[in-house]
Amino acid sequence: MLQRVDACAHTNRWRNKSGPVALFSAGLMACALLGPPLSVGPLVWMAATAAALFGARVPAGLFFRFMAVPLGFLVTSALALCLTVTIADGGLAIGFTADGARTAALAGVRAAGAVSVTLFFACTVACAQWVAMLRRAHVPAALLDLIQLVYRTVFLLDVQRAALVRAQDNRLGFRNTRVAMRSTARTFATLFVRSLQRAARLERGLAARGYTDRLPVLAPPSTATASDYAAAVGVPATIFTVAVVLGKVLVA
């Protein structure tokens, strides 16, 4: 999933418009957090999903599969708010509370909207792009260099993890639960050591390329226009206005 989302962020139709996309995401997120939940949640969810699927051309299968995980957590949490479990007359009694259901619905739709915005951002803005934005925002360079190295290392280690698991599997390392747990533990222990070795080798490699104490790189190219920025502000503003009006109608 990690590889697929990252690949999508680097290949989607809006990959070189990260500025407006980030602004649009920030606007939608503000809507989701500040607007009346029952109306703004679905509107934000629809806007983020439509922008991802029809604007950035994120594959629908990827977007909805990616969304399934946080939505699963949301549903579980909502159930916990709706249901009550008590011990009465020597047995378990499961009940349903209207107040709990209302709270769950309000929190759920707001959270679903916010989650869709986060996923939209993850699928459309690559790490290099958002690091460049943070650099322009004067976030300390040392922190951004660290993010850059962690990003690269995560993918290197992921390749090693997959190779280790394959090698263990070929030698019956996952033939039953007990052995599988031991193999998994060994994989993580090996990855820890390899990450240290990888860091030492990268340090030497960067030293050979003239590294002193900074990792300066060019910002990725951008093809964003003024109209892109205008849309990135206008759409969330419109959604917020509609959500407020709808919210009043729903309350009335």
Binding site: D6, N16, A126, R152, R204, A208, R209, G210, T212, L215
Partner: protein
């Protein structure tokens, strides 16, 4: 005879802990380099040949100051290397080193960003750095891949990406550690074609390998390493004719195939 552009003189080097390992394991050398002297002439393509553990990679790391000799000297353009930060920065503009594993030196979010690291370290402005990035990517045939993250490139492409990172500094010498290791024949041909182009522009190329055929077909000069020392160096054609010399350095002469070395029953 033309003066050497890059030269190591009686260089010795020991990795931390190697002496302790050799004390309990007699087969293990205490020093990776035991007095290696190598001369690289300007404009040449020099292949450094030797078996595993002969010290090839360690010697290459001395050439741009990544490692500092415990004894002996390294000279660039007739001047002994200055290991201060300023001295190394200056040296690395002229001598670019490409590691055997490209992942040892690639770090950035996208290919173009990674290649821009060197030029920006030189203090160039973004316009000039972008120009050099485009030029370097074009030289290795990766011009269309600049916006991709490094993990989306193949091993062969990452090898060329690592070379582009060095080329963006416009070096005089390109030093490559086992450049064709892990490449299929097509990847090897592509890489050598790009290196040919760079050499044709006047770049000096030093590379390590244990592939005699590669050295025979591509190098002008060779140096043979054994047990941390150069045991022979000079014209490629002349040295690679000496089968006894190659065998003593744990190398397989080009005419000897694996089939000849197998027991007769297996070979049939």
């Amino acid at each position: 005879m033309m003066a050497s552009l890059l030269e190591t003189v009686d260089v010795r080097y020991a990795y931390a802990g190697a002496a302790a390992a050799s004390s309990v394991c007699p087969g293990q050398r205490a020093e990776a380099l035991t007095g290696a002297s190598l001369a690289v002439r300007s404009g040449t393509r020099l292949a450094l040949l030797g078996g595993n553990g002969s010290g090839k990679s360690t010697l290459l790391l001395q050439l741009n100051g990544t490692l500092r000799p415990t004894e002996g000297e390294v000279h660039f353009a007739g001047v002994t290397l200055d290991y201060s930060r300023r001295g190394l920065t200056k040296l690395r503009q002229h001598v670019a080193l490409v590691f055997q594993d490209p992942d040892d030196q690639l770090f950035a979010g996208t290919l173009a960003q990674d290649v821009s690291f060197g030029p920006l370290n030189l203090g160039l402005d973004e316009t000039e750095a972008a120009r050099r990035v485009a030029e370097a990517l074009d030289a290795v045939g990766l011009a269309e891949f600049g916006d991709l993250p490094l993990h989306m490139l193949s091993h062969g492409q990452r090898k060329r990406a690592a070379i582009a990172g060095g080329l963006a500094l416009r070096p005089l010498v390109l030093v490559l550690d086992e450049p064709t290791a892990g490449l299929d024949p097509e990847g090897e041909d592509t890489l050598l074609a790009h290196l040919d182009g760079l050499h044709a522009q006047g770049m000096t190329v030093v590379f390590s390998t244990h592939d005699i055929q590669l050295a025979q077909s591509w190098a002008d000069e060779v140096a043979i390493m054994q047990a941390g020392r150069i045991i022979a160096s000079g014209d490629a054609a002349a040295i690679l004719e000496d089968e006894d010399l190659l065998r003593s350095a744990r190398l397989r002469p080009a005419r000897t195939s694996v089939r000849h070395r197998l027991p007769a029953g297996i070979a049939r």
